[in-house]
């Protein structure tokens, strides 16, 4: 398995997906070797071995792809060195090579070619989306080479699959859709708070549309001034969003928490009345799924992959501030709606967990191993 981020230092859905997938694979009795550019620390999982380039581990990368809040920076040549190391990795009993997103695709393709093992590539998001239509050519090239070399491509939603087919020319026959999931958790008992809390929890990246959250907040507080909007997470947009909140006159109604610990995250989910994920682009939206698993009704943008697996969520065009504001107000004002959607949303995201996702992934592996490609 070739990835990059792994808990505890992860910033997005990819880290969660890879960790949960490897954990379930190991539980089923598979052994996983996880190749990462980083020296760790890694949350250990029995059955999963971690390897990184021994002599020159790479320091985490900043900016749009901040890992664990580190301010480190890629050095020229880091990516090539990592990929060269992957390409030469001594393959043992491994049956399948599985790479996630663009970072290690070149090395993974070379390794698959050299060893005769099938290559699976999971796409969690595309460079087009992360850059809001201004892709970095090098990353795009690495995505394309992986997509071309892979025997099977896994997309985390149908929406993403369509994009891979239309934008990247991937043959639809080789794409499988396997959604993300959430861990089974207790329904959190709601902490009482005098003010109702509307929560955004996620990276502060351009593709997340946090602008819309703030603009909707400005509309909502005009009729419900007691509402508190919480922005939890960090990222390159932080400064701009602070200024926007001031400009909109909602600085006293919006709380920027920065990066939150696991414990703080649980507390937030137990306190919030409504969860909002207004992403411009959201291939899946694990953050919304986790909020729903905690029993919080969620509002997501229409393109979010999670809307493909549940009807118990409000979907809104990412640019439609009035509609976001309306949906937030409706959930705040109508307790019967909040309860019904919270309960139904929780049921719907708990229906299939990581175990099912891992089984589906193993199904993809078997398509290749049984194909006689080995």
């Amino acid at each position: 398995m070739i990835g990059w981020e792994w808990p505890p230092s992860h910033s997005g859905g990819l880290g969660v997906h890879v960790f949960e997938l490897c954990t379930e694979l190991a539980k089923m009795g598979h052994t996983v070797t996880f190749l990462s550019p980083f020296p760790g620390p890694y949350t250990p999982v029995e059955g999963v071995t971690f390897r990184c380039p021994a002599d020159e581990p790479i320091e985490p990368y900043p900016g749009a792809y901040a890992i664990g809040g580190s301010a480190g920076r890629w050095q020229e040549g880091d990516i090539e060195r990592f990929n060269a190391w992957v390409a030469g990795f001594p393959i043992g009993h491994h049956d399948v090579i599985h790479v996630h997103d663009w970072f290690g695709t070149v090395g993974a393709s070379a390794l698959a070619h050299r060893s005769g093992r099938p290559l699976v590539m999971t796409v969690h998001s595309t460079e087009y989306d992360r850059s809001l239509g201004h892709p970095w050519a090098e990353i795009l090239a690495r995505e394309r080479s992986g997509l071309q070399a892979a025997d099977r491509v896994i997309a985390v939603s149908e929406h993403l699959k369509r994009q891979l087919v239309e934008r990247y020319g991937v043959r639809p026959e080789k794409v499988r859709v396997i959604y993300n999931a959430v861990r089974p958790s207790e329904r959190l008992s709601i902490l009482s708070s005098r003010r109702k809390i509307v929560l955004y929890l996620g990276r502060l990246a351009a593709m997340k549309g946090v602008d819309t959250f703030l603009r909707a907040a400005a509309r909502v507080v005009s009729t419900a001034p007691d509402t508190l909007f919480v922005v939890a997470g960090e990222g390159p947009e932080f400064g701009r969003l602070l200024i926007l909140a001031a400009h909109l006159g909602v600085s006293d109604r919006v709380l920027f928490l920065g990066k939150v610990t696991e414990e703080e995250r649980v507390t937030l989910l137990a306190s919030a009345s409504v969860f909002v994920l207004p992403s411009v682009v959201e291939p899946f939206g694990i953050a919304a799924a986790e909020a729903m698993a905690a029993g919080i009704p969620a509002i997501v943008s229409k393109t979010s992959g999670i809307a493909e697996i549940t009807d118990s969520v409000f979907t809104v065009d990412f640019w439609d501030i009035d509609e976001f504001a309306s949906r937030i107000s409706e959930l705040l004002e109508y307790p019967a709606l909040r309860r019904a959607m919270g309960a139904a949303g929780r049921r719907s995201v708990m229906r299939e967990g990581w175990e099912e996702r891992a089984l589906q992934t193993v199904g993809v592996y078997f398509e290749l191993v049984k194909d006689g490609r080995r």
Partner: protein, 406 residues
């Protein structure tokens, strides 16, 4: 054996998307244009061809007779969207062989509200039928064929000779639906029980290729009717069965055309309207302590008031009703009544799976029950605000008036 065919014509005034931010904006709750567009579509596929065939059958078959209920909201939309359909309906009613039924004007849940709302809405509907067709119905049908002892007493008080009920075990208690019964608490009110097996053969199963009786011909169907023991067979269904629920390509319109003749040609069978049927002597008296309807598998009120969303919306509507009446403004009262139409609550049904959920989704104009609820509540809250404003205006004007006289 009498064959009693009864068809129900109804379209609701569906709400437009009325967002929370639209509260106080003066935007209308009802998108008239969209409703009329839907009506025109159904008129083309169903009302025009099916009413045309019924009119032809009345011309060709002097013994053919049937019964119709037409809601006020359907009449309003027909007049605006498809006046020719309304003219055909007039022509059919003028034959004197089509009985019309009473019900609430708005196809509403008024029967669950404190009096006098139910009476007011039945009166509104009576007046509309009088105006439109010069008709005064003798038989009452409640929204979604709801029936209970309380409703029987209401019907008796309003001098109705009969009511339609679902031929369901909860009411019939072992008796067949093929006799006339009377209401235990109101013996002057005859009950006509829907034969749901035979009715649903046409209403639900006609176009289903998985059904082992597919395809259903008029001959086969009438054979089944003739083989049914009893005095009458009550075939009650939505009018939209013919061309809308089952498309014309299923052969449903030809089936409808063939029925009148096939019944005439079958010895022992004859057509009757509901008004003729209630003249038959009752075999038993039946009681229904709880409300029974023709909706869903449970035949109760679950289709509109089965979940917390529906109950909360209805409770809110009840409260706004008190304000709407107090406000004394006809437009506010009328809008509130349009919001009482049962369809709005039906859209808030949360099923998830099973046959019923599919049926609810088919009829819904919303993406989800949560959409339906939020939109409804927004409209209702806006109406409440308008009613309250009106009431406080009146009060302050009243005070000002008194001050002046002093």
């Amino acid at each position: 054996m009498k064959v009693v065919l009864y068809l129900h014509l109804h379209q609701p005034w569906r709400l437009a998307r009325f967002r929370y931010v639209d509260l106080g904006s003066g935007r209308p709750y009802i998108d008239e244009h969209r409703n009329l567009e839907i009506f025109r579509g159904i008129a083309t596929r169903c009302y025009r061809p099916a009413l045309g065939r019924l009119a032809d059958a009345l011309d060709a078959e002097p013994d053919f007779r049937f019964s119709l209920s037409v809601t006020g909201t359907w009449l309003e939309q027909a007049a605006m969207a498809a006046p020719d359909v309304l003219r055909t309906l007039h022509r059919i009613v003028r034959t004197g062989r089509v009985a019309l039924l009473s019900e609430t004007y708005y196809h509403s849940l008024a029967f669950l509200l404190p009096p006098p709302e139910l009476l007011d809405e039945v009166e509104l509907h009576r007046a509309a039928l009088q105006r439109e067709f010069g008709a005064r119905p003798k038989v009452l049908r409640m929204t979604e064929l709801a029936y209970s002892d309380e409703l029987a007493r209401f019907a008796e008080g309003e001098r109705f000779q009969g009511m339609l009920v679902e031929g369901w075990e909860g009411i019939l208690r072992g008796h067949p639906p093929t006799h006339v019964y009377c209401a235990a608490p109101a013996p002057t009110v005859m009950l006509l029980a829907r034969h749901y097996m035979l009715s649903d053969d046409v209403g639900f199963r006609f176009s289903s290729k998985q059904w082992n009786e597919y395809p259903l011909t008029a001959e086969k169907y009438v054979r089944w009717i003739a083989a049914t023991p009893g005095e009458l067979v009550n075939l009650f269904m939505d009018f939209e069965t013919f061309g809308e629920h089952h498309p014309a390509s299923s052969g449903i319109l030809e089936f409808l055309s063939a029925l009148p003749r096939t019944v005439r040609e079958t010895p022992g069978l004859s057509w009757a309207t509901v008004e003729e049927a209630v003249e038959l002597p009752p075999r038993e008296s039946l009681s229904a302590p709880t409300t029974v309807s023709w909706a869903d598998q449970n035949r109760d009120l679950g289709a509109w008031l089965g979940n917390d969303l529906q109950r909360s919306a209805f409770e809110a509507a009840k409260k706004v009703g008190v304000l709407a009446r107090t406000a004394g403004n006809p437009e506010i009262l009328e809008t509130w009544r349009k919001l009482l139409t049962s369809d709005h609550f039906y859209y808030m049904y949360v099923g998830g799976h099973g046959a019923d959920a599919g049926v609810h989704q088919y009829f819904s104009s919303y993406g989800s029950p949560y959409d339906a609820y939020a939109n409804y509540m927004n409209a209702l809250m806006d109406l409440r605000r308008r009613a309250v404003e009106r009431i406080s205006d009146e009060r302050s004007m009243g005070t000002a008036g008194r001050n002046r006289t002093r």
